[in-house]
């Protein structure tokens, strides 16, 4: 997933190994603390934290925050959780200076973008987006929508207002291009 988002994850030790290597190093029930890692990308950094199986409370969130070093360059935090998170903990996450994303570990069992019904996704830059709107004489709200809570939007970490280029393949034409705007 990080590689699909554009992060430089190829050489990282925690991501590259195959399943057997991973099991031999961390055993079948790994300690969540040892799985944390940072991944750099262009001008920002993303921190991936694996949280234990207990219920996530306010204290747990503060504890995670205190453990993070080098906060200045951190832009993104991904929490991989197993169990519920209390509403107070969610409020605290909103006050963090960086963006926090919460993913259930069950959702990472399978890479959903490999499914056969999934088309190819590309995220447009601002310039490309303006060119598209000009070409078709559109407002932003006239594009087809994709919800921010959509599985694909969460997979790629899309923000409101971003446009995704979607390329389908079918029997009629080899490539059919459409676009969706995240709302």
């Amino acid at each position: 997933m990080l590689q699909d988002r554009g992060y430089d994850a190829i050489q990282h030790a925690n991501i590259s190994p195959s399943l057997t290597e991973f099991c031999s190093r961390f055993s079948q029930n790994p300690n969540p603390q040892t799985l944390d890692f940072c991944v750099p990308h262009l001008s920002n950094t993303v921190q991936v934290v694996f949280v234990g199986p207990k219920e996530i409370r306010k204290g747990t969130v503060n504890e995670i925050c205190s453990q993070i070093a080098d906060k200045g360059s951190l832009k993104w935090l991904i929490l991989v959780v197993k169990s519920k998170m209390t509403s107070f903990a969610k409020k605290d996450l909103e006050n963090f200076p960086f963006k926090v994303e919460t993913i259930k570990i069950d959702d990472l069992l399978v890479n959903i973008t490999k499914h056969v019904l999934q088309p190819k996704y590309e995220i447009l830059t601002d310039d490309e987006k303006q060119a598209l709107l000009t070409k078709h004489n559109l407002d932003e709200k006239q594009l087809p929508h994709m919800l921010k809570t959509d599985t694909i939007a969460r997979y790629y970490g899309l923000e409101k207002g971003q446009v995704v280029k979607i390329t389908h393949s079918g029997p009629v034409v080899n490539f059919d291009v459409s676009y969706r705007c995240v709302v």
């Binding site: 399978v110 088309p119 676009y179």
Partner: protein, 1288 residues
């Protein structure tokens, strides 16, 4: 629609909704109504008067549109339609501090936001406190959420009730009474009472459904607006159409296919205004009764109807006049037959006025059609399709005579009947010849058909061509010569004439009649041919050559040439059949004697199948000897205990019977066993060529009727076990289940008449189509080839992925060129280019270079692009709704009712996906192919599945451990492992361990629940003697033990590990509580399982029931929501599989798919499949639950799922807002930008109030809005305007 000499200076641009203020009402009102008596003595009312002109507007009585009055209410009352709005505000107001219940600071923030929004400064309003708002509605909606206490002072409000308890007369009466009460200064309670009456009358006036009290008064205003008879759907959406007529239709094979025969009665009354002065003057002089002439003329003052006979008219004014001439030959009219299911339901026809006729006449090709043979396949390959869906048993049709030049030009060039060969939704042809023409064609094209010179000429002449086209005649004049292969000469002559001036073509295609049909005749034909002409034999009759494509004639020469050919062939075959004749006799239906005997023997063998199927059904081996009474009892026991068993036995029986009747002598009975050989058998000729009926009809007449089905199943049994009273109960013979071995030719047994099912399910396809139409009517193709909604939102970036319209022709677009500078489409799609290259290699086009061929394909592609303005949404909804309605009507025709079940199922699927996409659908499934060499099973397995028998014995009184107690012994015998269901992979050790620990625990828990209910009756016995008191104490102790055991049982639920770990933990926990166990002995040995329970002082227990209930609930294996799992192959329709590399998307052959196993489950639970990633190819997981696919894989996967289930454009429309939007009044209609669409669909009053409350505006972009206002639709030819060139 009278043409006016004045031009319009204004047009409606926008419609805005709001409430009127008091001053506005007074200004627009003409009179204040105070008298309840509305009719005066002089027959005048406030509203109309017998005077010549209206005092208010000065127009005559005919033209006055009537005016408003008003009633001044003495006291204010509530509007019941908008009463909820102040009620909501009032409920969120604190009565103590006279402020909103929220904090004062928050109120100020909201007010400031609303002010910013009104100024148009949305961004600042958004940034305020990070609240995201796009409309003022959302601000108010969030603010008015209900709170229990006031955040300012904490006081609570009293409860507010909303009583809504009229009519015009009542309103007026109550108002007057209230005024009188005020004037007399009556008792305040009386004033209040009259005021309440006034409110109730107003409520009744608006909506008598919500008002309480009186029920038998006239309908309120809301009722006038709602439903099919309401103002919106009947008056505003429906229009009065002038210059129209309606009559019964009759066939006329001598008309051309695009002509319509109009009787003189209509021709004398339908009229139009042309611009020929001389003709018009003569038309007036002729009088109205002579045809052709005129019926009216009009000037600015009046419309004068002409007298019947010619008279000198004394009107000498020189002012301009409009003359209405009669309908005459060559005019064009629009014809429509309801229900209007698709575009060809309205077609334009050229008029022929037929003297002496009284009905509207037309060609057969406009009605139902069937498939054809031989040369028809050459031009018109067909299915069971039609344009009007009409027959000639009394159907009526509407005819309208368009009046203005634009309408007439559109009718001549676009809506013309000749242009309706292709169905817009699928590209299939829908017009052809039928029935007798098919038979005649088959007869004419047989090899032994010879025509003389005179016959040949007569046929050609009758088909409408002259003899000048003949170029291939070799015989001498006056000499009778028999010519071979006359059919080729005939068609060649006809084609030469029709396509003269154009290049020729070559065609090859298989015919419909199989080659063995003419087997015997070919042999005879050869000999006969050799004797007479000694010419070489030409290709067989079942082979034809077609190059290019199926619609070659229409494609190359245009629609009108195709129409001419169809008309000519129609006349040709009619004339030939008049010469030749065609009739059926009983000989055609009879079988040869030997074949008939064999038929009876094979059908009688079907009786034996019933016995063997039912034996298998109750698991009795064939070698076992069992009498019929025992067999019937076992069948009854099986069916009563398990409802699904009936379906299983039905399926087995049907499969066996079908395989028997499809093999052996019955397979070829109708081709080899009939008394009259195939070539001469008229019934066989009709059914084989597709003229009328089918092989099923022939089989039912001559062979057997077969299995009859009611609602898609075999005949169901009544409670007594019988299917009909004349059969014994639980009869296992196929005949009792509806299998009829008799035939119509030799009559049926009387009781079998009761098996026929002519009931048809009430269909909801009409409502389905209306929902689709309202949702999709705004979609159209724009100039950049995108499909857009009324507000400009893009639904598809290319229509149908390639932008192609299947009814565009090369013929009419040969001038178009591919515009390579266009930024939208500037080259061929890649797939199309690949196919073109492959085709050119295969065909070896020697005379054409590859580059030229590619250029030809580009030309074809560009000429087929969809035109801008095409209303593709309407086409999409028609393509779904029209087949559904067709099948509804077809279902009534046959009790051979497999089509009924398919039709009902299709409607259910469509409704489920498009309109009622609930979170939990009723028949969800999930499929996934397995990896290579893998297999797995997923199914709930309960203890009840493996228990063979159960026995309980009781030792009522015994002494054990110093206590008096009862001992229950439970002995269960289990099935042998090979008798387990095939899908289980449980081993002996697994069930032993599980039964030993967990099953016993659950049984005890179930017993505890039962025993606690028993204790409620114990309290009555407390006053008895001392012995009972001692027992009570003992019960209490056991009760506390039960509580502990329940807690222990609850803890077990948390375990999600495998049985082994569970057993390990269980052993630890069981040790400290072992002294509380009631089970004193457990033995599991082989197939034998024994448990001994010890109970002290307990009442008698039905242990068998407790254990049975536990056995059904206790699962040895369970996978989430997945209920059943079965192994299938990738050949099934629900499985997606593209091989190892799914990116190619190439189709795998069906044979290859059959080799690959797959899983199919009922119930959807993606995590179960994800966790089995090692065994399953999870890239191909598929489910028909669209919402589940949306949540798991995103909106694009949901869109693909809808496409697989339904259609492309519907899928894009339902997902273009990012979610899964339904097509009903709570779905996408509610979000429409057009207010008129919402009002015309459903709940009109609700949407009107909402629009007025929010001051919304309709820009009149949608078809519904423009029709309501009376403007042309902005689609199709309505996209453009004609502008007159004015010189000032």
């Amino acid at each position: 629609m009278v043409l006016s000499t004045e031009g319009a200076t204004n047009s409606v641009e926008v419609v805005a909704f709001s409430f009127l203020t008091d001053d506005e009402i007074r200004r627009s009102s003409r009179v204040k109504i105070t008298n309840p008596i509305l009719i005066f003595n002089l027959s005048c009312t406030y509203f109309t008067c017998l005077e010549l002109s209206c005092k208010s507007c000065g127009q005559t009585t005919k033209h006055c549109p009537d005016h408003f009055g008003h009633i001044e209410l003495v006291s204010p009352v509530y509007n019941p339609l908008t009463f909820n709005i102040p009620s909501n505000i009032l409920q969120r107001t604190c009565f103590s501090c006279h402020h909103f219940q929220s904090l004062r600071k928050e109120v100020d923030i909201r007010a400031f936001q609303l002010e910013l929004i009104m100024k148009g400064d949305i961004i600042m309003a958004k940034n305020l406190e990070s609240i995201i708002t796009e409309k003022s509605n959302s601000v108010l909606r969030k603010f008015l959420t209900k709170k229990h206490k006031c955040q300012e002072c904490g006081a609570e409000n009293p409860r507010i009730s909303k009583p809504t308890f009229g009519w015009f007369y009542m309103v007026l009466q109550c108002n007057i009474s209230l005024g009188d009460a005020h004037l007399n200064k009556s008792d305040p309670s009386k004033v209040l009472s009259w005021w309440m009456d006034l409110q109730q009358s107003v409520n009744m006036l608006f909506d008598n459904k919500t008002a309480s009290g009186k029920r038998d008064v006239a309908t309120g205003i809301c009722r006038l607006l709602e439903k099919k008879e309401g103002i919106f759907r009947q008056k505003m959406m429906g229009k009065m159409v002038y210059f129209a007529c309606r009559s019964v239709i009759s066939p006329d094979p001598y008309l051309a296919v695009n002509e319509i025969g109009i009787p003189p009665y209509f021709a004398l009354r339908l009229s139009v205004t042309p611009w020929n002065v001389v003709k018009l003057r003569n038309a007036i002089l002729n009088g109205a009764e002579s045809h052709p002439s005129a019926s009216h003329y009009a000037d600015k003052v009046s419309i004068v109807k002409l007298p019947p006979k010619g008279k000198e008219i004394s009107d000498h004014e020189f002012e301009g006049k409009v003359v209405y001439r009669h309908l005459k030959d060559g005019d064009v009219v629009l014809a429509n037959r309801q229900p209007t299911l698709h575009k060809p339901s309205i077609m334009a026809h050229i008029v022929r006025v037929l003297k002496g006729e009284k009905t509207v006449r037309m060609h057969y090709a406009n009605c139902r059609v069937t498939t054809v043979n031989n040369f028809f396949v050459l031009f018109f390959p067909l299915r069971d399709l039609c344009t009007y869906n009409a027959d000639f048993d009394g159907d009526e049709i509407n005819v309208h005579f368009p009046q203005d030049e634009i309408s007439r030009a559109e009718a001549y060039n676009i809506v013309n009947a000749n242009n309706q060969y292709v169905k817009p939704t699928s590209g299939d042809p829908i017009r052809a010849l039928i029935q007798d023409h098919i038979v005649s064609a088959a007869l004419l094209t047989k090899k032994d058909t010879f025509l003389s010179y005179e016959e040949f000429n007569q046929l050609l002449y009758s088909s409408g061509v002259s003899m000048a086209g003949l170029g291939s005649f070799y015989g001498k004049h006056g000499q009778k010569v028999f010519m071979s292969n006359s059919e080729s000469e005939m068609f060649l002559a006809l084609l030469y004439y029709i396509t003269r001036g154009s290049p020729s073509f070559t065609v090859e295609k298989n015919a419909k009649i199989p080659s063995n049909f003419f087997k015997t005749r070919i042999r005879k034909g050869k000999r006969y041919t050799q004797d007479t002409s000694k010419k070489k034999e030409k290709p067989d009759e079942d082979k034809l050559l077609i190059y290019k494509n199926d619609l070659v004639l229409q494609e190359l020469y245009g629609s009108n040439v195709a129409g001419n050919l169809l008309s000519a062939l129609s006349r040709l075959f009619t004339t030939f059949l008049q010469m030749h004749g065609f009739t059926c006799g009983v000989d055609d239906l009879m079988l040869t004697e030997g074949k008939d005997v064999e038929r009876m023997n094979q059908l009688n063998s079907c009786e034996i199948i019933g016995n063997s199927v039912h034996r298998e059904f109750i698991r009795v081996k064939n070698s076992d000897n069992i009498d019929s009474v025992t067999l019937q009892l076992n069948i009854e026991k099986k069916i009563r205990s398990n409802g699904e068993a009936t379906l299983t036995s039905d399926r087995k029986m049907t499969n066996k019977l079908n395989s028997t009747t499809s093999s052996g002598i019955l397979k070829e009975l109708l081709s080899e066993g009939i008394l009259q050989p195939s070539g001469k058998n008229c019934i066989s000729l009709m059914t084989t060529s597709g003229a009328k009926g089918s092989m099923v009809n022939f089989q039912q007449i001559s062979s057997h009727l077969g299995q009859q089905e009611l609602e898609g199943k075999r005949v169901p049994r009544m409670v007594s076990g019988k299917t009909l009273p004349c059969f014994p109960p639980w009869d296992c013979s196929p005949r009792a289940g509806g299998f009829i071995i008799d035939r119509f030719l030799t009559a049926l047994h009387p009781q079998e008449y009761y098996f026929f099912d002519t009931a048809v399910k009430t269909s909801r396809s009409g409502y389905l189509q209306r929902c689709l139409m309202k949702n999709l009517e705004c979609l159209k193709v724009c100039y950049d080839h995108t499909v857009r909604d009324a507000d400009g939102s893009i639904i598809q970036f290319h229509y149908g992925e390639d932008g192609v319209d299947n009814k565009e022709l090369v013929y009419s677009n040969y001038c178009r060129q591919l515009d390579r500078s266009s930024p939208y489409i500037n080259k061929l799609p890649d797939a199309l280019e690949g196919k073109a290259e492959k085709f050119s290699k295969q065909r070896n086009l020697g005379s054409m270079e590859h580059a030229d061929f590619v250029r030809l394909i580009e030309h074809k592609y560009v000429s087929c692009l969809t035109q801008p303005g095409e209303p593709v949404g309407v086409l999409a909804s028609q393509s779904v709704g029209e087949p559904a309605t067709q099948m509804t009507e077809r279902g009534e025709e046959s009790s051979y009712s497999k089509s009924n079940s398919k039709m009902s199922f299709l409607l259910i699927v469509l409704t489920k996906i498009l309109m009622a996409a609930a979170r939990d659908i009723k028949t969800p499934f999930m499929t996934c192919p397995l990896r290579h060499e893998k297999s797995i099973n997923l199914k709930k397995i309960t203890v009840a599945d493996i228990i063979k028998s159960m026995k309980v014995s009781v030792v009522p009184v015994t002494v054990l451990g110093g206590q008096i107690c009862s001992i229950y012994k439970l002995v269960m015998k289990l099935y042998k492992s090979k008798q387990y269901p095939e899908y289980t992979d449980i081993t002996l050790e697994d069930w032993e361990e599980t039964l030993r620990v967990n099953f016993v625990r659950d049984s005890e828990d179930a017993h505890d629940n039962g025993s606690e209910s028993e204790k409620k009756g114990q309290s009555n016995d407390e006053d008895d003697d001392g012995v009972v008191v001692e027992d009570t104490e003992g019960n209490e102790d056991l009760g506390s033990d039960a509580q502990k055991r329940k807690l222990q049982g609850t803890d077990e639920v948390d375990y999600e590990d495998g049985p082994e770990e569970e057993t390990h933990d269980e052993k630890k926990k069981s040790e400290p509580t072992k002294r509380y166990d009631w089970a004193i002995f457990v033995e599991a040995k082989g197939m034998h399982f024994e448990i001994h329970f010890r109970f002290t002082g307990e009442p008698h227990i039905l242990l068998t029931q407790i254990v049975q209930r536990t056995a059904k609930k206790f699962c040895l294996q369970n996978f989430g929501k997945v209920g059943e799992c079965k192994a299938i192959t990738c050949k099934e329709s629900g499985v997606i599989y593209y091989g190892k590399d799914d990116r190619k998307g190439d189709e795998i052959s069906a044979f290859e798919k059959e080799e690959i196993p797959a899983l199919q489950t009922s119930g959807v639970h993606f995590k179960t499949f994800w966790e089995l990633e090692d065994d399953l190819d999870v890239r191909y997981i598929y489910s028909n639950n669209v919402l589940a696919m949306l949540n798991a894989y995103g909106v694009e996967a949901a869109r693909e799922t809808i496409i697989r289930e339904v259609q492309n454009l519907n899928a894009d429309f339902m997902t273009h807002s990012g979610g899964y939007c339904l097509m009903n009044r709570t779905g996408s209609i509610a979000d429409s930008t057009s207010l008129f669409i919402k009002m015309c669909f459903e709940t009109a009053a609700k949407f009107i109030v909402e629009a007025a409350y929010h001051g919304q505006v309709d820009n009149l972009e949608t078809p519904s809005a423009r029709i309501c206002i009376g403007l042309p639709v902005k689609m199709g030819t309505g996209c453009h305007d004609l502008i007159q060139k004015l010189e000032i």
